[in-house]
Structures are given as structure tokens and as C-alpha cells.
Symmetry: C2
Subunit: 154 residues, 2 copies
């Protein structure tokens, strides 16, 4: 049966950011619905964020589209050019190649739960727009790897 048993699904808290940037992942977890259903073309994560937690560092993807849909609670969408409150039932899209770094931050006192959808392309580059974050992630075809912004590997 293709139904995902979410109650018994593994919850992923691992973070691919190197220190000290991995501290941004505290309070974030993911249930990878698409992976659990053996999908390979896109990922769909059910992502709870605790109060004070962030989804990521502000970033944009060169090749992969993204979409988020808020299931419960509310969360601030923080972009390079401003902030937008997203409430349950709201959706936002991030088209590949649009150079506007984004992240979701839970500034409320309740957990927020959202779905995040992203393409699973063969290659991609994830650029972090915060000048204090000296990191980029590159998927050259064998999975994501972290690099400094000058191209040196971590």
C-alpha cells in the first residue's frame, strides 16, 4: 500500500551544514515522505519547527524549484528583500535560479508544521546569501557537499 505510516516514520534531525553553521538546524526535524515512498524525482518533507528555530540559512537553488505549504501554526518567510508571515493554508514558491535567499523562521510560541517540496535534480548549487555564512553546498552528481564561498572544501 502506498500510504505512508507517518506515526512510525523515522524523523531526521541530521544537518549537512559544517560547524558552526549547523547550529541553525537546532529545533528542526524532517519526515521525508517522498523518500519513504521511494520517489526519486522530487522530495516532500513534513517539517516541524520549534519556536525560535529556522528551516535553513538563507539560500537559493540554482537548478531546483521549491515550494512550501504551511499545515499548522505560522512562520516568518525571511528573504533578502523582506519578510512575509505565512499562516496555516499559505503557500510560497521559490523558482530555481531566482537569486533571493530565503528561509523560514518560527518566531511564534507554538510549533509550526509545513510541507517542503523540492526537485531532485542531478546537479545543483545552493548559495547562502548571508555574508556571515561562508558556505555553499554543491551537488555535482554524487550528493551534496559543503564548500567555502571561495570554493575550498570543508
Amino acid at each position: 500500500m502506498p500510504k505512508i505510516n507517518i506515526e512510525t516514520a523515522p524523523v531526521r534531525t541530521a544537518c549537512m551544514y559544517p560547524p558552526p553553521y549547523d547550529a541553525q538546524c537546532a529545533g528542526r526535524s524532517k519526515i521525508s515522505l517522498g523518500d519513504l515512498g521511494h520517489l526519486s524525482q522530487f522530495g516532500v518533507n513534513l517539517t516541524p519547527l520549534s519556536p525560535g528555530a529556522a528551516s535553513a540559512h538563507q539560500h537559493w537553488h540554482k537548478h531546483e524549484d521549491e515550494l512550501v505549504y504551511v499545515i499548522e501554526g505560522e512562520v516568518m518567510l525571511v528573504e533578502d528583500d523582506g519578510e512575509t508571515l505565512l499562516r496555516a493554508g499559505d503557500a510560497a514558491t521559490f523558482k530555481a535560479g531566482v537569486e533571493n535567499g530565503h528561509m523560514l523562521v518560527n518566531r511564534s510560541d507554538q510549533e509550526v508544521v509545513f510541507l517542503e517540496v523540492g526537485t531532485r535534480g542531478e546537479k545543483d548549487v545552493c548559495t547562502y546569501t548571508d555574508p556571515d555564512v561562508d558556505m555553499q553546498l554543491v551537488n555535482g552528481g554524487e550528493g551534496w557537499k559543503p564548500f567555502h564561498k571561495n570554493g575550498e572544501p570543508y
Copy 2:
């Protein structure tokens, strides 16, 4: 801003099935969140189904992964090999090439709302497994077109 204004978004009720199969689309509507956000790699539809309505005829995709997530209400997942009730918070996946026809049917007395996610591939074939449905949909690279099961176009 990448937030989708769902309240003012166009609601799509068009059905690409030829008569008499288009009757299956009654009571179904879609808000195409991904299209509204100009995404091209996958589609995400917010799909309300009225009591008695179905999402589609039972089908499977040759090349495109699919995932559904129930936002509110409950809906019966009807497959060639059985039925599974999906409630709010449940998800199900349909991997490309798995020859098990599926559709969602609202047998409750309340509207159900779900998200459906599907890859936007260049080419695909959608096969309908109900022997009473003499239809297949083929996207040869220029959009979906309906054919009889013997290959003759509608």
C-alpha cells in the same frame, strides 16, 4: 513576493478527459500552486473534492512520480488491489511505472482537501486500468492528448 494568494487564485475545473469520461471530474477543482509560482519542474495542486466526487479515473503514470497529502477531511484511496482510507495528515505516494491504478474518492459527507504533487516531465503516458474506460493520455512532448486504448486519437 513568492507567497501565493490562494484566496484570489483561479480555480480550475476543466477536465482533459473526453466525453463520457469527463463526467468523472464533476465536483473536483484545483488551485495550481506550482503554476501560480511559475514553477516548471513539478506541479502542486490544492484540490478540494466534494462528497461523492473522484480525483480521476483509476490510473498510473509511466514516467512521473506522484504524492498526495490530505489537508482536511477524509478520502478513500482506491487502487486495483484494494482500498485505504486517508485522513487529514495522511500521505500516499505513487512511484512512476508502478502498474497499480489509483484514484481518490470522497465517500464522506464533508468536503476533503488534499495536496497533489507530480513531476513535470517532458514525456509521459497515463494508463487507465478500469476496463470500462477506453482512454489513455499521452504527453509526447507537447502536452497531454487523449487516445483510445488501441492508439486511435479522440
